[in-house]
């Protein structure tokens, strides 16, 4: 296996970068997210979190039962600003006057 194995395809984070973060002592999912950018792209961690957790469990940093994912942020699925604007049209126009 080469070092160019991508674990987060949205943000181009490789397994080697995760290993580097862990070597620095950043071994929680929240810290790894903030050091590497993993999980901050279009999938918002839906693809990469499991792969990261598998890696952390394999390395015996956590048990599968104890590992914590990073805080899930709304919206659950990407939504356009136009749709959001339509939802707010009445009250927001009032506010913006």
């Amino acid at each position: 296996m080469t070092q160019r194995v991508f674990i987060c395809r949205c943000e181009d984070v490789t397994v080697a970068e995760i290993d580097h973060a862990i070597a620095l002592g950043l071994d929680s999912v929240e810290e790894i997210k903030r050091y590497t950018g993993l999980g901050t792209g279009p999938c918002q961690g839906k693809e990469c979190t499991v792969a990261l957790v598998r890696l952390l469990v394999q390395q015996q940093r956590f048990t599968a039962a104890s590992v914590q994912p990073f805080t899930a942020r709304p919206p659950a699925e990407p939504i356009t600003l136009g749709d959001l604007a339509a939802m707010a049209r009445g009250p927001a126009d009032e506010v913006d006057r």
């Binding site: 070597a23 950018g37 792209g41 279009p42 049209r89 927001a92």
Partner: protein, 418 residues
Amino acid sequence: MSAKGALGSRDIALPEACDVAVVGGGVMGLATAYHIAQSSRMRVVVLERSYLVSGASGRNGGGVRMQWGDEGNVRIMMESIEICRGLAQELGINLWFRQGGYLIVARSAEGEARLRRNAELHHLLGAPTRLLGGEEAREIVPDLDATDIRLAAFNAEDGVVFPWPFVWGYAGQAIRKGVVVRTHTAAVAAEPDRDGLRLHLSTGEQLRARIVVNATGAWSHDLNRSLGITLPNRPHRHEILSTEPLKPCLDPLVVDLRSGLYFSQSTRGEIVAGITMPTAHDDGAGDRRIGEHGIGEHGIGEHGTDVDQGSSLGFLAHLGATLTSLMPKFGALKVLRQWAGAYDVSPDGEAIVGPSPGHPALLQLCGFTGHGFMMAPAVGRLVAELIVHGRRHPMLDRWDPARFARGATAPREDMIIG
């Protein structure tokens, strides 16, 4: 830099005593620790209650601007931006610093007058702010709906950064210079000691320090209260979002004065945007009740002040409506993520920095009211100069924590955005 603990650790041993204990591992505390270690042989410990980048330093929009309404704030931000230019090299990390400018648009006579007054001040101080008409603003941001823009101000030296590596960078370099950075450890109380203060930590440990710096921002009450210090800064929840990444399409960070909307494109490609919510109290006293419509995410860790960092649908809708009215093309842009962070709001909008009333060994480094991140490079340096050399930067007079007891609040800055 590859050893375990190179970016702080929950396991690192604490000394029994140190010269300076910095409470709060955000950008303010870490920048201060870094500069103290760089310019002295003082023993410095930084205590962070959670992991690094967990608080406001990891949650802000990364805007960095010298377009302020007050001379002191313009000057300090000119210093900060000057530092930012060489900081990636100094800290050995990519900060994604991009000077695309700030374009501030006014759609009212009042806003227009503010921009004119500020541009005059900036000119005197050597900050290259230019006034533009609506059509000229569209040359910088072609997708902007300029129909009711009366005036715009543009400063090409303002810019944006990616906040996360900023914090890692200061932490890494501080540690290389001998600073002990202990994570997952809160200072729950302080008491006067022979020569300084004794901190009681959430781990059961104690730490003596000649000087303690309270750099905990929105969480600063608890430590202050343990010494009977009462200061008027309060937490205030501010929401923000980011979108799917685009190819570079937006050079400056754009501010709409009327709505308090701001948006920029980070070097990562995403549009980052926030806005003043119409429900926000603007009396400057902060608001603990605003969390009523927030969901999830309360506070950090189990110790002390419960600071609301929840997200709301109302924010998404209000921001969506305001942003698409100014940038119609963004209607098709998808929001990927929203989150919130805590402003540490002081009543006059000015920071609270310096020896605490009655307890000079406790230095406040708080109250930055949402603009602490951008000021941190300059402020970290000036606080270190105060601690190491006793040198008093001119801003320390107006940031004096004792001003509230005297009833002498600083003149209110009118360019607090968001």
